[in-house]
């Protein structure tokens, strides 16, 4: 902490919030709100005279509200920066602090929040985690029974700098507990609250047990656990040390804590798996080892930073194995528990890793980004002709489209991430995507459906998830029908309705429209656009009377190879169940409807010529198939 304050190249801005992040890799514009402290940092010397003079006491968050602080305060004596703060919500404006500060004149009641703009090349997000509040778990009585406390409260009780100067006492009577229980997995590995393992709590329970044992060797300490997880270096040995020190480990998740209302003694009822029966033990005090949860403002930060969240609410990395530090947004990196529960060694390591990932960019004079971006044909954009539209701007998750009525929309290339959502949504076929142009994708569709299209299952898949799911199906040798023909675009948002119409016009047997699950989308809200369109298409195809299952929407992650194989096999079964003659009749019935809806084929520049060329390939394929 002090090193950071001392380092001349680090500007520590405490009591400051990030309001807005705009721009792109190498060129972020960040707006910060430096909240008013009402104490001038350039004058305050941290002497504490203001706090001594202040007559107002409020609970201190830093002490888990177990101890008070003044309205003029620092959260702890080693605060960095050492600048006092006046809590205006608590202040009664008696101005005693002003008198106490005297000639220093550091206290300034006229201070206001300051808005600061910074130009930034790369961002490391290290916003940490929050603590699960066990109050809703009524079976443990937290909040009702004074001697049931959380792990963080225990932390401040046994800390020599804490509320009781390191004396662990029972809140009900200030007596020192002789018999204490620690319950693990409170709010984690619990499907009612958080299904995940909180990562560090086993070790944390062992640490606190050992610490308490060191303070009072006679203390009787039991740890209730589901499994003890000690997978890092030196951790299992640490666990051994605790067992040798006489700490009891009881395998079983407690069902209930009850209390004697007079003595405030606690009774834990739990299964003891080793004994194979239900046991009940009495304790003076119980510590609930609560789950790590995302920060309360994690959703807000996620929208400020434009980064997605994984299930559970943590920030989502680009790839869990290959790029665990990168966010899906170029130039934004994650460090520590904001990406998922992590202990100190892992957080420190990830801090260094994030710095190293960021410095690749920060040491470069320029940075290269993929050119698979969207491009507007200005002469096709109706806005240029004075018509109001702006659909592309609304679709873009990155604010990469400049739309002003009366002027053709323009893509801000460096902000464009290349999802192709605007291409899919533009009702006037005025946008295309480099490397996934309409001509290129239509050419693939036409060749994949060249021979016996009615037998084919054409699968549209996003690059990041469903394509990965299909890969995993193969890698795992989950076999599925070889009638599947896969097609890759960057995002389900790019899967234009016209592409689907064209596939049915060509006589496709079935079509799979697949992308990532909404929370996994690499383009923030790309999947949402894709899903809305798929729902519209589904309704329309139902109205047109196509057999159920011939158009199917599925969200398949890169981890769901089994699902990919299952979906294709189910689609094959659907096709098999329709008599050939009926299927062919249905396909023929649908064709004129599709022709009516299709605009891309004749309108998009170059597509018509391109399709003439593709037909040479298709004819060659057909002639080969006949000669077989």
């Amino acid at each position: 902490m002090v090193d950071a304050a001392r380092q001349p190249l680090i500007e520590v801005k405490a009591y400051t919030e990030v309001e807005k992040v705009e721009g792109f890799v190498g060129n972020f514009k960040v707006t910060l709100r430096e909240k008013a402290k009402y104490v001038r940092a350039d004058r305050c010397n941290g002497c504490a005279a203001c706090a001594k003079a202040c007559p107002v006491e409020v609970p201190n968050y830093f002490e888990m509200n177990l101890a008070p602080r003044k309205a003029a305060y620092i959260p702890m004596s080693q605060s960095v920066p050492l600048v006092y703060n006046i809590d205006m919500d608590a202040c009664i404006h008696c101005y005693k602090c002003v008198d106490a500060c005297g000639a220093l004149e550091a206290i300034d009641f006229s201070m206001e929040d300051k808005i600061i703009e910074e130009d930034i090349g790369a961002i490391v997000v290290a916003t940490g985690f929050g603590h699960f509040d066990p109050t809703p778990m009524t079976e443990y009585g937290y909040g009702r029974f004074p001697n049931v406390i959380t792990a963080m409260e225990m932390e401040r009780l046994n800390n020599s700098a804490g509320a009781t100067h390191g004396m662990v006492i029972r809140p009900s009577d200030n007596q020192r507990p002789q018999k204490l229980a620690i319950i693990n997995c409170v709010g984690s590995r619990d499907k009612r609250y958080n299904p995940y393992c909180s990562n560090f709590c086993c070790m944390y329970a062992i640490k606190n047990a050992l610490l308490l044992k060191q303070m009072n060797p006679n203390m009787d300490i039991s740890v209730y656990y589901i499994d003890i997880r000690t997978p890092s270096k030196g951790y299992e040995e640490f666990y051994d040390r605790a067992r040798e020190a006489g700490i009891k480990f009881i395998q079983g998740r407690p069902a209930e804590i009850t209390e004697d209302p007079n003595s405030h003694q606690l009774f834990i009822k739990s299964e003891d798996i080793t004994l194979g029966r239900v046991v009940e033990h009495e304790y003076d005090m119980v510590m609930l080892n609560q789950a790590a949860v995302p920060q309360p403002d994690q959703d807000h930060m996620s929208s400020v930073l434009n980064v997605a969240q994984s299930p559970g609410g943590w920030f989502m990395e680009y790839h869990p194995k290959l790029r665990p530090i990168d966010s899906p947004t170029d130039g934004i990196f994650f460090a520590g528990a904001c990406q998922g529960p992590k202990d100190i060694p892992a957080s420190v390591a990830q801090g260094s890793a994030a710095a190293s990932r960021a410095s690749r960019i920060l040491h470069s004079d320029s940075w290269q980004i993929e050119p698979t971006v969207a491009v507007v044909w200005p002469d096709r954009c109706v806005s240029g002709k004075g018509q109001a539209c702006g659909i592309c701007e609304k679709t873009c998750p990155y604010g990469a489209i400049d739309y002003t009525k009366g002027i053709s929309a323009e893509v801000i290339t460096a902000k464009c991430h290349g999802c192709g959502g605007c291409v899919g949504e533009c009702p006037h076929d005025a946008i295309t995507q480099l490397h996934y142009t309409d001509a290129e994708v239509l050419a693939q569709i036409r060749t994949l459906l060249a021979v016996e299209p009615e037998k084919k299952i054409l699968a549209f898949r996003c690059q990041w998830c469903s394509y990965g799911g299909a890969d995993l199906a193969g890698t795992s040798h989950f076999e599925y029908s070889a009638n599947e023909r896969g097609l890759r675009v960057m995002c389900s948002a790019r899967m234009d309705a016209d592409l689907i119409y064209e596939a049915y016009r060509l006589g496709a047997g079935a079509i799979l429209y697949s992308g990532c699950h909404p929370q996994d989308c690499h383009y923030i809200t790309g999947q949402v656009a894709g899903a809305k369109r798929a729902a519209r298409l589904e309704k329309m195809f139902a109205r047109l009377g196509i057999s159920p299952g011939r158009f199917r929407t599925e969200w398949i992650s890169a981890a769901e190879g089994d699902k990919y194989a299952r979906v294709i096999n189910e689609m094959q079964a659907t096709l098999d169940a329709i008599p050939e003659i009926e299927l062919k009749a249905e396909i023929e019935r649908l064709k004129p409807e599709m022709v009516k809806k299709l605009t891309k084929l004749n309108e998009v520049p170059g597509v018509e010529e391109a399709m003439i060329q593709v037909d040479f390939i298709v004819n060659e394929m057909k002639s080969k198939a006949v000669s077989l």
């Binding site: 405490a14 703060n85 910074e118 290290a126 100190i344 050119p371 021979v451 029908s481 390939i617």
Partner: protein
């Protein structure tokens, strides 16, 4: 927005050169060739319009495979390359770099995934897998016919970092960056940095002080 970053303009829907496509069908040892006869895919691809040369290779990603592609680009005047092999997630960067070394724009290479998404998934149906491998290769050839050269987009870099959160991870990231002479703004919403770590007593497994 600087001028430098907004330079990409679409060059047109159709490429201005006549495609001369080379197709490389990888055996991947027995991973592909153990299920389908790769020569049949080569014979099929070799006759597709636009394809001037098609060949088999034991391992397209190996040095020898890449050398073959690079030599053929020169020998046959190829201006597009299709590699029918594994997943783009596996080797797209490899083959982009390979064609670039032979002087082609890296975006003039297209892959057909005939391993993960074909032979590995259809071992029970070798005939179906062969037809699928042909179709996937043809689709890659068709797409390749319309590929246009693309340049990576270059953007300037502001040499300053923002670290959001002054806990143990953020502090460490800020220190590492500053030690590399990169200016850092370290933002913390509480009045002090330190995060949860500063609230802890001793820390496992060494039981040292947290601050």
């Amino acid at each position: 927005m600087s001028e430098e970053v907004n330079e990409t303009k679409y060059v047109g829907a159709m490429p201005d050169d006549e495609p001369r496509i080379g197709v490389y069908v990888c055996h991947c040892g027995s991973n592909i060739a153990g299920v389908i006869p790769c020569d049949k895919v080569v014979d099929f691809a070799g006759e597709l319009p636009g394809v001037v040369h098609a060949a088999e290779t034991m391992y397209a990603c190996a040095d020898s495979g890449q050398r073959l592609i690079k030599e053929d680009i020169k020998k046959y005047g190829l201006n597009r390359v299709v590699v029918s092999a594994c997943s783009v997630r596996m080797h797209e960067p490899t083959f982009r770099a390979c064609v670039a070394e032979a002087g082609l724009n890296p975006f003039l290479m297209e892959m057909a995934n005939i391993r993960e998404q074909c032979t590995w998934a259809h071992g029970h149906d070798p005939e179906g897998a062969l037809e699928k491998a042909k179709d996937l290769t043809a689709a890659a050839v068709a797409k390749a016919s319309f590929l246009t050269p693309l340049d990576m987009i270059s953007v300037p870099v502001t040499k300053k970092a923002l670290v959001i959160g002054g806990g143990v991870a953020g502090i460490n990231a800020a220190l590492d960056l500053a030690e590399q002479k990169i200016p850092v703004v370290l933002v913390e919403k509480q009045p002090t940095i330190g995060g949860v770590m500063a609230q802890l007593n001793k820390t496992f497994p060494t039981m040292d002080c947290s601050i």
